[in-house]
């Protein structure tokens, strides 16, 4: 039995970072809270470094087969740590000197720890704990802006989270009753007991993960939370929990016995998520809400490889490529939002292309990536997930996904079109809107993060083919 605590070094880094941030924040004066933020960033860097080292070592299962240290976990660790670091960077100006500076950092790290454990565990009880560890900090993060809107969003998220959490625990109980154990490994033989109960239990566990991922039917909280939380929190909650829960779903679907047509169920949820997310995003005018709905549809695309888990050789690498690409693209878009906080509707982006070309360029790259234009990261994700899904026998879902991709182009163009239209209106200039909003360097960190993430999008799109996770495909 392998109980090497070093196998969990990346998770330990994140958790220790959270504790250190909390303690430091409690004792530091208000104007020196930035030290806590630095600690949090260092924890992310340490976790990412540990994750890279672990990726190079062979696959193993630790702590009584409750935790897998394999490419799925390894990549998730890396993506979560890097994404959390980007969130801290893009939120630099927003968090600096805010009353909740160190608390926010601590909560981000705690939720990131939860997301990593969610992805790595192969045990239902640990999964339930990880669910709570991921979601509870989110409630506090969403509510920390203390506006009426945020209160509503946090209430919605909390109620849905509690409901789906209970359902998930119920599912864990049922599966435990049927298999006499909580490990995923025991699930494959559970079908022989009472197939219907096993199916209900598995669906209930999946439901909890669907909430965490923001997929239909657990998606209602995402747009509200994305719109009302502060930008850093919004960027985090539309990225990191999804990464963890989708990998968790992948593991679960792969391990489930054939008591139901799991590929069809997941495919149906995938089609619903992408369609609902895309069509709801059509009418949005607030970029953050638009991105919130877009993430719902992105989860639909991400469910494609989950649906064919274990049935297509490309399923696992395509999921990881898409997750990494999605995370960096989504964060690039949120970093742009963080850099121009006063532009709160799509029309307000008019003239950004002229006044801040780098930022507009980053937005262009991020949104084209979310649409899936080559040579960006999500294109590679879409290409590989489409291929995997078709290979796994879900060609119809690939058609649905392609149609939704076209539809998604429409709402992203509603954002891009004003961005690259010059603000030539005399009225705008007279009121001083443009000048005031575009004070150069007003939020340099957020802008740098946007450009950095956009560069990452392109780099990943062009270079991901040489990454070990893809090269290893048989």
């Amino acid at each position: 039995m392998d109980e090497d605590p070093l196998a969990l070094l990346p998770e330990i880094c994140l958790l220790a970072g959270a504790i250190a941030t909390l303690l430091a924040g409690s004792f530091l004066p208000r104007q020196r809270q930035w030290i806590a933020r630095i600690l949090a960033a260092l924890a992310c860097i340490a976790a990412a470094a540990a994750a890279i080292v672990a990726l190079a070592s062979p696959t193993r299962s630790v702590f009584a087969d409750s935790y897998a240290v394999d490419p799925l976990t390894g990549t998730t660790r890396l993506v979560v740590a890097a994404a959390t670091l980007l969130v801290l960077l893009l939120g630099t100006e927003e968090l600096r000197g805010s009353p909740r500076e160190s608390e926010t950092c601590c909560l981000l790290l705690l939720s990131a720890t939860g997301a990593t454990v969610l992805a790595g565990t192969t045990d239902l009880l640990v999964l339930a704990v990880a669910y709570l560890l991921t979601s509870i900090p989110l409630y506090a993060l969403i509510g920390s802006t203390r506006t009426a809107r945020a209160a509503e969003a946090v209430m919605k998220t909390y109620l849905l989270g509690a409901l789906f959490g209970i359902v998930m625990l119920l599912g864990v109980t049922l599966l435990f009753a049927m298999t006499g154990g909580t490990g995923y490994a025991g699930l494959s033989t559970a079908g022989s007991v009472v197939p219907a109960v096993v199916a209900v239990g598995a669906v209930a566990v999946l439901a909890g993960l669907l909430f965490e991922a923001g997929a239909v039917p657990g998606h209602f909280w995402v747009p509200d939370a994305a719109q009302s939380a502060n930008t850093a929190a919004a960027a985090f909650l539309t990225t990191v929990p999804k990464v963890g829960s989708l990998v968790a779903m992948f593991r679960l679907v792969d391990a489930l016995p054939g008591v139901a047509d799991w590929p069809l169920l997941v495919a149906a949820l995938s089609a619903l998520s992408m369609t609902v997310g895309t069509f709801a995003a059509f009418a949005q005018r607030d970029p953050r809400r638009l991105l919130g709905w877009s993430t719902v549809s992105q989860v639909g695309f991400l469910l494609l490889p989950v649906a064919v888990a274990g049935r297509a050789p490309l399923a696992e690498p395509s999921l990881l490529i898409y997750l990494a690409g999605y995370a960096v693209s989504n964060l690039a878009a949120f970093a742009v939002i963080a850099a121009v906080p006063d532009r709160t509707d799509l029309a307000g982006y008019r003239g950004l292309g002229t006044s801040r070309p780098w930022l507009a360029g980053a937005l262009l790259v991020a949104l084209l990536s979310l649409v899936g234009t080559p040579p960006t990261a999500v294109f590679l994700g879409k290409l590989t997930t489409f291929t995997a899904a078709w290979d796994g026998g879900l060609a119809w879902l690939v058609i649905v996904a392609a149609v939704n991709t076209v539809a998604s182009l429409f709402y992203f163009l509603r954002w891009l079109a004003p961005t690259f239209t010059r603000a030539a209106r005399a009225g705008d200039m007279a009121e001083g809107h443009v000048d005031r909003r575009d004070l150069r360097g007003s939020r340099p960190w957020a802008e740098r993060t946007a450009v950095l993430a956009a560069a990452g999008v392109l780099l990943l799109g062009v270079g991901a083919g040489s990454l070990p996770i893809l090269v290893a495909v048989p």
């Binding site: 490309l314 690498p317 070309p357 084209l368 234009t373 080559p374 040579p375 294109f379 590679l380 290409l383 590989t384 489409f386 291929t387 078709w390 290979d391 690939v398 058609i399 392609a402 149609v403 991709t405 076209v406 182009l409 429409f410 163009l413 079109a417 690259f420 239209t421 991901a464 083919g465 040489s466 893809l470 090269v471 290893a472 495909v473």
Partner: protein, 496 residues
């Protein structure tokens, strides 16, 4: 060398985009310099080109890119792609010269067009489906910004329509590519490998569905009836140089795809669907010509003649699939005619759109009703427009005649139904003669007064395009010697 040709404009684009303080005049001439250099390189390629053995490529380069999904950076040329590469550099050079008088953000425009040039060259050079798709998609993005940023009228709306339509097409194409990839064993996106393997032979319905996806994708881009509705508004609202590139080069990406991907990779399905392709071609020819005849707007009229001219190409490639009861020589002439028509249409329509742009520059209008008797105040414009119009209607002595003669000889040789498209030539002749009559002769229209004649930049941009059309019309061998061996290869591949 080929990669240098493809990526040189991209480097230029990066320089132009980064140099924010570059004076406008320098930016304009830099653009001309870049396109001329690239043109020179392509002339060099042409001179060094030796027809490769069947299935082979000239100037091929291959670099590992996405080994796990069987995709690599693979470029190369053959007798189909080389003329189109040359056409691309010629049209872009003409646009750069024409834009020497551009006043609206010339530096950004130059950067965008250089980027667009790389994407177009990339499509014609790509020997890997993912690489093809990459450049294909990026050309759409770049063209969207050209129309939205420099267009007039309802440019934003037209640009959106263009983007959505062609993006739909490109995704259909992607779905088809994935089908080809999965059918091949081992899985690959490499074009020569897929051509050699023809993976969906004997697979019946699946081959038909994959071909349908590819055909829809290419038909939107070409565009053929009934997927052409994005074209007229896009052309009407695009700037002159944008229209010239859109019609001269971007439409060829679709027809090129037929010859490069659909025909050689899916021969069985292509033969099965050849009748449908021929029918679509005939309808596009007639419909495009008739609707063009009814236009009151010069640019819309030229746009619809593009539907007509691209219809000839579709007709020819469809006829090449009618294998039973026809001889290979006729089909080969049809394919050769299709490729010649792509080059010829690119040159002539490019010139026509640039000349139409002169109307807008001088008078802010494209309406026939606003003009008349332009031969008086603007004799050079009148002469050029008349030459371009005669070239476009397929008068002997111009490249259009060489192309359409081959298309009809070959197509009718393969299937008698192709003769149904013959009235298209007549209607096109009528509409161009009517256009000449309405624009250049008769009483001056409300905006004819003080119409300035062609300026040097306009002469030097449209002139070479027309001269090339005449050269191909009189001495076509230098072009046909390149195209014919490749057409023979395509025909033998379709006949498998």
């Amino acid at each position: 060398m080929l990669s240098v040709v493809v990526f040189l404009p991209l480097v230029g684009a990066a320089v132009l985009a980064a140099a924010r303080r570059m004076p406008d005049g320098v930016a304009r001439w830099t653009w001309v310099g870049i396109t001329l250099t690239d043109l020179g390189l392509v002339v060099g390629l042409w001179a060094a080109y030796r027809t490769p053995p069947p299935g082979g490529l000239a100037f091929a380069e291959q670099v590992r890119w996405l080994p796990s999904v069987g995709s690599s950076y693979h470029v190369g040329v053959d007798g189909v792609s080389l003329p189109l590469l040359a056409l691309t550099t010629v049209v872009f050079t003409a646009c750069a010269v024409y834009a020497l008088t551009e006043r609206t953000r010339p530096r950004t425009q130059a950067a965008l067009f250089c980027f667009l040039q790389t994407t177009c060259l990339g499509v014609f050079a790509a020997q890997d489906l993912i690489l093809f798709f990459l450049f294909f998609d990026l050309s759409i993005v770049a063209m969207y910004f050209v129309i939205a940023g420099w267009g007039h009228g309802t440019a934003a709306r037209s640009a959106l329509k263009f983007f959505l339509y062609t993006f739909t097409g490109s995704l259909a194409l992607l779905v088809g590519f994935i089908g080809l990839y999965l059918a091949a064993d081992p899985h690959t996106f490499d074009i020569p490998e897929l051509v050699a393997a023809a993976p969906l032979q004997g697979s019946g319905a699946v081959g038909g569905l994959v071909l349908a996806a590819v055909l829809v994708g290419l038909a939107v881009k070409t565009p053929t009836f009934p997927f052409h509705t994005w074209l007229p508004p896009a052309h009407t609202d695009a700037p002159a140089v944008g229209s010239a590139v859109l019609a001269g080069v971007l439409l060829k990406l679709g027809t090129y795809g037929f010859v490069r991907i659909a025909m050689p990779m899916l021969p069985e399905a292509w033969r099965a669907w050849a009748g449908v392709v021929v029918a679509v071609g005939v309808v596009s020819v007639l419909y495009g010509a008739l609707v063009a005849l009814a236009q009151s707007n010069v640019k819309r009229m030229i746009a619809y003649t593009s539907v007509n001219h691209m219809g000839y190409v579709v007709l020819a490639v469809g006829a090449a699939g009618v294998v039973t009861g026809s001889d290979a020589a006729a089909r080969q002439v049809a394919v050769s005619g299709a490729v010649t028509q792509m080059v010829s249409h690119g040159l002539i329509t490019g010139a026509l759109f640039l000349l139409a742009g002169v109307l807008h520059r001088r008078a802010g209008s494209y309406e026939f009703a606003d003009f008349g008797g332009l031969a008086g105040p603007a004799p050079r414009f009148a002469g050029f427009f008349a030459v371009a119009a005669f070239a476009s209607l397929g008068l002997p002595g111009f490249s259009g005649f060489i192309a359409e003669f081959q298309v009809f000889t070959g197509s009718i040789g393969a299937t008698g139904w192709a003769a149904l498209a013959l009235p298209g030539i007549l209607i096109t002749a009528a509409l161009f003669l009517r256009a000449i009559q309405r624009l250049l002769t008769g009483a001056p229209g409300p905006k004819s007064a003080g119409f300035g004649d062609l300026r040097p930049a306009e002469l030097l941009s449209t002139g070479p395009l027309l001269i090339l059309a005449v050269v191909i019309g009189i001495l076509p061998r230098f072009l046909l010697d390149v195209i014919e061996p490749a057409a023979e290869v395509v025909v033998s591949l379709v006949g498998r």
